[in-house]
């Protein structure tokens, strides 16, 4: 009995220590006011003052910072722009990732571990270095432009780096494995005889793909989309390195609140709202996973 209780308790303690407690701290900061102090916000919880201190502490918390977020169009524009960039790059990642997964799943079985390795291989290098390499590839005098000039396809170097295009390339490149792997997992399990059955019943290869392969890989597609969308929404490194200054993303706004304005309370409020936005897809994702598990049984 005790053992079972401990087993159940461990994941909850984990969640409590690594998610709930930090989140509550962030919520608390988001309800505070900025101050020139160390740490730079008020009020501080002083347990030595006892109950009255605690009361005093809570009386100083308010929702002012959240109201502030509504006062400037910067914030909702940044959220919206992040949502747009995340959604659009998820779509591109799907369009690029699906054929790759499909090719992997249709490759001869002795090739598959190698192909899988090639997909995972980039993870062995630092993410930062890989994004930096893209700067080298996409820059004005970079590899891509040199190559295109050499082939004679273009006569003036293309401006890709520091544009939204570069951000999309960066996000798609970085998160591609997260799209490929779950889709590949569903496609690999796909019974070839289902496709033969579809053809046998009058489908061309293409309609068999649409009517059988795509619906059956739906769990993988949904999982992949969430795995790309959720981190892309809060992405900070890729837009700051590859994107121009016009690429407005909430991660960057958050960084500026925290580091440039030293306004930890507003930065925390931005983070809390971001989390609330993310909770919706995360819950949907969980539902999807659960549904799949039930269907699998």
């Amino acid at each position: 009995m005790l053992r079972r209780l401990t087993l159940i308790l461990i994941p909850y303690l984990w969640l409590l220590a690594l998610f709930l407690v930090p989140f509550l701290i962030v919520v608390k900061i988001s309800l505070s006011d900025v101050a020139l102090a160390r740490p730079p916000y008020m009020p501080q919880l002083d347990l030595a003052a006892g109950l009255s201190g605690l009361k005093d502490f809570f009386s100083q918390l308010d929702l002012e910072n959240f109201w502030f977020l509504t006062s400037d169009d910067l914030y909702w524009k940044a959220y919206l722009s992040s949502l747009k960039i995340a959604a659009f790059s998820t779509l591109i990642t799907l369009l690029v990732g699906f054929p790759i997964s499909y090719a992997m799943a249709s490759a001869r079985s002795e090739w598959r571990p190698t192909l899988m390795m090639l997909v995972i291989l980039p993870f062995w290098t630092s993410f930062l270095i890989r994004v930096y390499s893209w700067m080298g590839i996409l820059s004005q005098n970079g590899l891509l432009n040199s190559f295109l000039l050499w082939t004679g396809l273009i006569h003036e170097p293309l401006t890709i780096l520091n544009t939204p295009t570069a951000v999309y390339i960066g996000i798609v490149y970085t998160y591609l494995p997260f799209m490929i792997l779950p889709i590949y997992a569903t496609l690999e399990k796909l019974d070839i005889s289902l496709l033969e059955a579809a053809e046998d019943l009058g489908c061309s290869r293409l309609t068999a793909f649409w009517l059988v392969t795509v619906p059956l890989s739906k769990p993988g597609i949904i999982a992949g989309c969430f795995l790309v969308f959720i981190p892309a929404l809060g992405e900070f490194v890729i837009p700051s390195l590859l994107g121009g200054s016009r690429t407005l993303m909430i991660g960057k706004v958050l960084w500026e609140e925290f580091f440039n304005n030293r306004d930890w309370p507003v930065a925390s409020a931005v983070a809390v709202v971001l989390l609330l936005i993310l909770i919706i897809p995360i819950i949907l994702f969980q539902r999807n996973e659960q549904k799949n598990r039930e269907a699998g049984q």
Partner: protein, 373 residues
Amino acid sequence: MPQTVFAPWENPDEKPLIQFRNVTKRFGDFTAIDNLDLDIYTREFFALLGPSGCGKTTLMRMLAGFETPSSGSILIGGQDMAEIPPNRRPVNMMFQSYALFPHLSVWDNIAFGLKREGKDRGTIETRVADMMRLTRLEKFARRKPHQLSGGQRQRVALARSLAKAPKLLLLDEPLGALDKKLREETQFELMDIQEKTGTTFVIVTHDQEEAMTVASRVAVMDEGKLVQVATPDRIYETPNSVYVADFIGDVNIIEGRASQSGDRVLVSWAEGTTPLVAATEKHLSKDQACYLAIRPEKITISETEPDTANRLQGEILDIGYLGNISTYHVKLPTGHVIKAQSTNTRRIARRSFTWEDKVWLSWTDTAAILLER
């Protein structure tokens, strides 16, 4: 009006529905089908029988269009199928795994092929309802495949493949996943449905009993070749080779050397024994190696020496009691073990033979089949 026996293969004017002409199929170095010719006729229930790897599945997949012959041609209704993709052949297939679409309901699975034909909704609904009635699936229309039992899935697969009313239905080990009792029931259902729909069925199976039960003709295959194509009774009674005799049912094979006189052949088979006699229409040269195939149920077992041409004495080694019949394994002085069957008409207590009894085995000269290979 006299009832004619269904035997289109004996009518030279009858056009075959399916024609294999010099068909060879290679996978790399491996030859799966070796220069094969075969005609299958409309309304036949044709069984391809053989051990795994004999090429029967390849033959079927070539009919469906999932494989193309390396050489030779396949004609269906007189039309060469070489350039016709699977989705445009007048053929449907029931897969061994059933290959039901897991994301579609029973109703949608059955309607799948009809929808692809662009039939109007009313037609589709009527046809799906017909198919579900035929396969007794009315209650399960809204269920998904994973909510069905094995037998129900099998019926969905059958209904789905029949829905488009194909000229030819291919069944790949259709009953393999069912338990024995359900399998036997379903065999009769299949025959019933075949008769009702008038569709030509080609079934692939490794189960000889199943082939014998359902088929109008059976093709026994080995290593990419047809060994014998005939009706079940002919396959059983007059196998053309030891391979076929051995594959279908139980048989005793005795190897020997022939010496023919007229339609009788004497087979010398062991030192110090009387040659065995068999009737044949074949002509064997002197001392040609040959085989005698005798089915156990054609051998009589007795206490006293019988008055027949073929009689052998031996000792009972083993008795297999199967209820209605018993199989006796009798060891001859030469070391051969012969299987003999007798019907248990008497009660067990009154049975005459037991282990280590000396008994006589005998059969008529027409009971044994003389085989050259």
